[in-house]
Symmetry: C2
DNA sequence: ACCGAACTACAACGAGCGTTGCACTTTTTA
DNA sequence: TAAAAAGTGCAACGCTCGTTGTAGTTCGGT
């Protein structure tokens, strides 16, 4: 031991081994499916380990806190992933630098709503998990809940509010002094409504019916918020 | 035994003892709180019995199917109760025989939205249970789910659609050919939005903020659906 | 090829759960 | 008041689960 040992310690402390991180994300990804399918109480450690293709002992090596720590990790991890995807879709449809022409507004908003609703189909595990978070809100640590809220619905809401403000600045919408509320109303009339009627994507909703709901919701939104 | 015994049997079969029914409803009422607080998996039979003030053995005497049968009973029982309350509030605000004057329309709709949102505070156990139903949709028997859906949100949606049709017939609203969709949009802009932002009533939402959401939602609805 | 780290299989533990049977007490009812 | 119905307390069963220790195995980096 001596200077060599010290150098090693210093390096180990500095560099977070990427190998471990990748494995932990793989475990968390698999756990997201299990927690979403079974819920926290029903999900057994054996099932979680099996779904990740590892032994229970390895799971405890990576997450010394056991099931609880794994759950916390999964919640913050998937929220970030899905929120990022949502922001990406929003940026793809609504470029704040180039506001749409007035006659294209409704078409663009329909595209945006379709993109949001598509998230439900593309991340079923995540939204199943969200259902359980809603249900077990009393048993989830407050800090975890706050972090999830901020990274998930909060981030999306803020970004959409900015987009609404942009459209208002371009003279396409009249947000009636509250772009954040306009953003919430847009979500309520489109994705929230579909979430409600399809029971979080569990009930099969005919594509034609979903489209009718989306276009109808956007039409109502435009009637309520179009610039006079 | 003999003719006396036969008469007794006949009577017993004819009359459903009201005593048992009352007790079972009391048990179910207490169980609603426990299931809502803990969820199905976490709720233990001991807790359910203690909350109802009975022994576990008595619980099994009333519900031979055990926890599962009790849960099924609770779901259908509370759904009916709350749906009935919701219909009552709707009838109290919107009398189909006497449509409001045009200048009172928005005020009446705000009153209706407030009545709906008030359900959240008045039946917290029920809505906590609904959260768990949503989360465990895969583990709830399909028949129970269908019955709940029909008695709960379904009944309310149909009644509200009728009310919207009435308002349209009175020349106060333009439902754009789909009174049911207008009803869903009303719910989405008012109670659904508040449910979402307050996490099913768990997050404390300042009364002033709730009121701002309600009036803002109704205002947007009126802008989208007022008769031209 | 080697060394250390990561991983596995296996067994065990303590606790909690749903459920049932049994003997006993209380309440209702005729 | 006496029979019958309803309720109680207790013990026990079998099962699942979370978690940990240990000894042996595989694997990545040098």
């Amino acid at each position: 031991m001596g200077s060599g040992n010290e150098a090693w310690l210093e390096q180990a402390r500095r560099e977070v081994p990427p190998r471990k991180l990748a494995k932990q994300m793989a475990i968390a990804s698999a756990a997201c499916g299990v927690f979403g399918r079974e819920g926290y109480a029903r999900a057994s450690v054996d099932t979680l380990a099996a779904e990740a293709g590892i032994s229970t002992r390895t799971l405890y090596n990576h997450f010394p806190g056991g099931k609880a720590e794994l759950f916390r990790t999964v919640v913050s991890w998937t929220s970030g992933e899905v929120a990022q995807a949502q922001l990406a879709r929003m940026a793809a449809v609504l470029d704040p630098e180039r506001p749409p022409r007035a006659e294209d507004l409704e078409r663009e908003l329909v595209a945006l709503a379709r993109a949001f609703v598509g998230l439900l189909a593309d991340y079923p595990n995540h939204f199943a998990l969200v259902r359980h978070i809603h249900a077990e809100v009393d048993h989830v640590p407050a800090e975890v809940l706050a972090a999830w809220r901020d990274a998930g619905p909060g981030a999306a809401g803020r970004a959409l509010a900015d987009a609404m403000a942009s459209l208002a600045a371009a003279g396409l919408l009249d947000v009636h002094g509250d772009p954040a509320l306009a953003a919430q109303h847009f979500l309520a009339l489109t994705s929230h409504l579909i979430v409600q009627l399809s029971s979080y994507g569990v009930l099969p909703l005919a594509p034609a019916e979903a489209d009718r709901l989306i276009t109808g919701g956007v039409a109502a939104f435009v009637r309520a918020y179009r610039a006079a």
